[in-house]
């Protein structure tokens, strides 16, 4: 256990020292500034918003713009998670940082778990803070609050933790550059899955909707994001509730306890494959 904490602390310290963290913080401030500006203009002229019949304009505007913030938060969290983990095995081995650690009486699996925990210890609070910041901006500017305040933020953080695990897995087999590209392509695939669901719904194509659902389950960070969107209007029922869950890059078509349990199982599977690959790898 002390080895896990030592390595996790090492990873945490590395994360906070890296320039990418400062860059992400700067981008976050810019994002929050722009988001406040958008909220300010949107709610100042809320009368200009024309929601579908029977839906409250403020609720419609609030859920939509906060859905955008959820995507922005997920994206920034993913950027941070990927840059903190993309070179943990191959990259660090190429640079000679890994070997002095690996030859200590610390198992390779311990090292992987600890590095994942270190990344999550940075990314999860970051995602939580950005989520809280955007929620406060929309809440205080537009007087609209999500039905469920905490769960969506937790699910976004969990989605980022899944991406961090995938990135660690990739780092076992791929160089840093190849891994970074692969993980962002996976993230893009999740985005496409969400859009596919929206298109399927618009065309009334159950096949497309099914394909989108399968893709979201294959990439559970997307399913968690969709479930987080659903949680925004969890207490609003019927068509109103459904329309409000439509995020800017795909709606909340997938969700529920099964998705959350699957995300945990997925983490275990990804972790197991990474552990086997790392144990068998020559350095």
């Amino acid at each position: 256990m002390s080895s896990v904490l030592t390595i996790a602390g090492y990873g945490l310290r590395e994360a906070l020292r890296r320039k990418v963290f400062a860059v992400v913080l700067l981008l976050t401030v810019a994002f929050l500034g722009l988001f406040w500006l958008a909220n300010h203009f949107l709610f100042e002229h809320i009368d200009n918003v024309a929601p579908p019949a029977g839906i409250d304009a403020r609720g419609f505007a609030g859920a939509t713009i906060f859905g955008l913030a959820m995507f922005g938060t997920l994206f920034l969290g993913v950027v941070l998670a990927v840059f903190l983990t993309l070179g943990v095995v191959s990259g660090d081995a190429e640079r000679g940082l890994l070997q002095p650690l690996i030859v200590r009486p610390v198992g390779r699996v311990t090292l992987l778990v600890a590095r994942w925990l270190g990344a999550v210890a940075v990314c999860a609070p970051y995602v939580g803070l950005v989520y809280l910041g955007t929620m406060l901006i929309t809440g205080l500017t537009g007087h609209w609050w999500p039905d469920n305040l905490v769960t969506p933020g937790v699910e976004l953080a969990a989605g980022v933790a899944v991406v961090a695990a995938l990135s660690l897995l990739g780092s076992v087999f791929l160089s840093s550059t190849a891994n970074g590209i692969a993980i962002f392509m996976l993230f893009g695939a999740g985005l496409v899955a969400g859009l596919l669901g929206t298109i399927g719904h618009g065309l009334n194509s159950h096949q497309l909707e099914r394909a989108a659902k399968i893709a979201a389950w294959l990439l559970p960070f997307e399913a968690l994001y969709q479930d987080a969107l659903r949680q925004l209007t969890a207490k609003t029922s019927g068509l109103t509730g459904f329309l409000l869950t439509l995020g800017p890059f795909g709606g909340g078509y997938t969700g529920g306890t099964a998705v959350r349990l699957w995300a945990v199982a997925y983490l275990l599977i990804v972790g197991t494959v990474a552990a086997i690959g790392f144990t068998r790898r020559d350095l």
């Binding site: 390595i7 310290r13 020292r17 000679g96 070997q99 002095p100 650690l101 009486p105 068998r280």
Partner: protein, 280 residues
Amino acid sequence: MPAALAVRGLAKRYGAVEALAGVDLDVREGELVGLLGPNGAGKSTLVKIACGLVRASRGTAEICGVRADSREARRKMGYLAELFRFPGWYSADEVLELHQRLSESCGGERERTELLELVGLADARRRRVEEMSKGMQQRLGVAQALVGSPPLLLLDEPTSALDPVGRRTVRELLEELRSRGTSVLLNSHLLSEIELVCDRVAILLHGRLVAEGSPAELARSRGVEIETDGGTRLFEGTTREDAPRLVAELVAGGRKVYGVRVLTSTLEETYLEAVGGESS
């Protein structure tokens, strides 16, 4: 008492390339063994298998009687990689502290102070790695390998980035370690260094052990050269013990003898002979 490092029939294949083809080697307690060979001979692969970075295709490697890639074995050895780096934002003291925690060393600050003094970095204790010269980082690497006082040290080119003074520091350190009973497997291209400090030398070529012995055993006699009034003559195949007899014979034959030199081949010559002039 098991050997500090015992390697039996060790083989490693990387695809079609055979890096090691069945090597037997022992490093006994308190022994300093030098590993020589051209680039690609399998030296680093052997060291990496011994410290668990690379999996052997065949054969066994044991450290103090336990399987080389086990946690127990890792508690008994220190390793300095040929290419290594420490995070630039760590100070020398923090690097050692991190490795103390990972190796479960109870040495605390006293051990860190001793190690930094041993490698001549006592004044750079708080200096960040990124502010250190390559040679200082290399010496810090040696100190890191010594954390926890392991009975076996595996050093892969420990002096490659050092200037002559730094090399001398490491050489003195190795002699100090030997006096403490620490076993060392030293992988180096510097033959003079190996010749000066090692008890035994093993030469690898194409993944096979082609010569092994003490530097004195490997440095064979090349004959006796005698300078007389008739010129200089080389008596090939003779040794130091033959010199008085040869001089006596020449004097009896009416020659005036002005000088006698016993010629021995250096480790370098033995090495070049063993590897057939290969460099990579």
